[in-house]
């Protein structure tokens, strides 16, 4: 079956612009996660959804970052007033449930802020 998909694969934007990154999880997976991976680092947790609600957004760096999952499937990560420091690969993952242990990752969106 299809894995986790993310669009776009690459996004180049200018400082101060707004961007949206999309994640389509594995069908039937109720839990969805966003991570950010900076150069030379491992993925860092941003936010976790159980169904439609954000159960834990403690990893979001500031209020410029926001994510939604309105129908409990596709999720969008939104970044306002982008800064050069936001440049990173944004990874999405999903799992069957929040306690099933294994997360399946998408290929990521590489965001470059000029």
């Amino acid at each position: 079956g299809a894995g986790v998909s993310q669009t776009p694969s690459n996004k180049v934007t200018e400082k101060g612009k707004y961007v949206e990154l999309r994640c389509d999880p594995i069908s039937g997976h109720t839990a969805l996660y966003w991570y950010r991976q900076s150069l030379g680092q491992g993925p860092e947790f941003l936010i976790y959804f159980q169904g439609t609600g954000a159960a834990d957004d403690s990893g979001l760096p500031n209020d410029r970052f926001f994510a939604v999952r309105p129908e409990g499937s596709v999720s969008t990560l939104k970044i306002q007033r982008t800064e050069r420091g936001d440049s990173a690969v944004y990874l999405c993952a999903s799992s069957l449930t929040s306690t099933s242990g294994e997360q399946f990752f998408g290929p990521g969106t590489r965001l470059t802020v000029l």
């Binding site: 894995g3 986790v4 839990a31 996660y33 030379g40 680092q41 491992g42 993925p43 860092e44 947790f45 976790y48 159960a55 834990d56 990874l91 993952a93 799992s95 929040s98 306690t99 242990g101 294994e102 997360q103 399946f104 990752f105 998408g106 290929p107 990521g108």
Partner: protein, 113 residues
């Protein structure tokens, strides 16, 4: 708080040689442990996982890992490396019944033909 240390940033091995990638974790209870591999431009692929039971875990692509509670380690091994194994490897720790994963900074593996 849980943490993961991968002491080796970059390792180079010859094709056919054995491999061991180190991972040390810090966690108060019995952890869930994972090894993921990331090839250039690709997402993270799960190699293997440890939840409980046998401390020697077999994974895909001929990899195995051993959980050693006394050393807080979960080292990844492969007896004979192939050129296609060149990638970045991440160790991660999670808590039983929890969604949170904490990743190490990764070890980049280069393979000399």
């Amino acid at each position: 708080a849980q943490s993961v240390t991968q002491p080796d940033i970059h390792i180079t091995v010859s094709e056919g040689a054995s491999l061991e990638l180190r991972c040390n974790y810090s966690y108060g209870a019995t952890p869930y442990l994972f090894w993921y591999v990331q090839s250039p431009g690709q997402g993270l692929q799960l190699l293997l996982k440890y939840f409980s039971g046998d401390t020697l875990v077999q994974g895909i692509k001929g990899f195995e890992a051993e959980f050693k509670r006394s050393q807080s380690s979960f080292n990844l091994r492969k007896p004979s490396v192939h050129w296609s194994d060149a990638a970045e490897y991440f160790c991660a720790v999670g808590a039983a019944g929890s969604y949170q994963l904490t990743f190490g900074k990764g070890t980049k593996l280069s393979v000399i033909p």
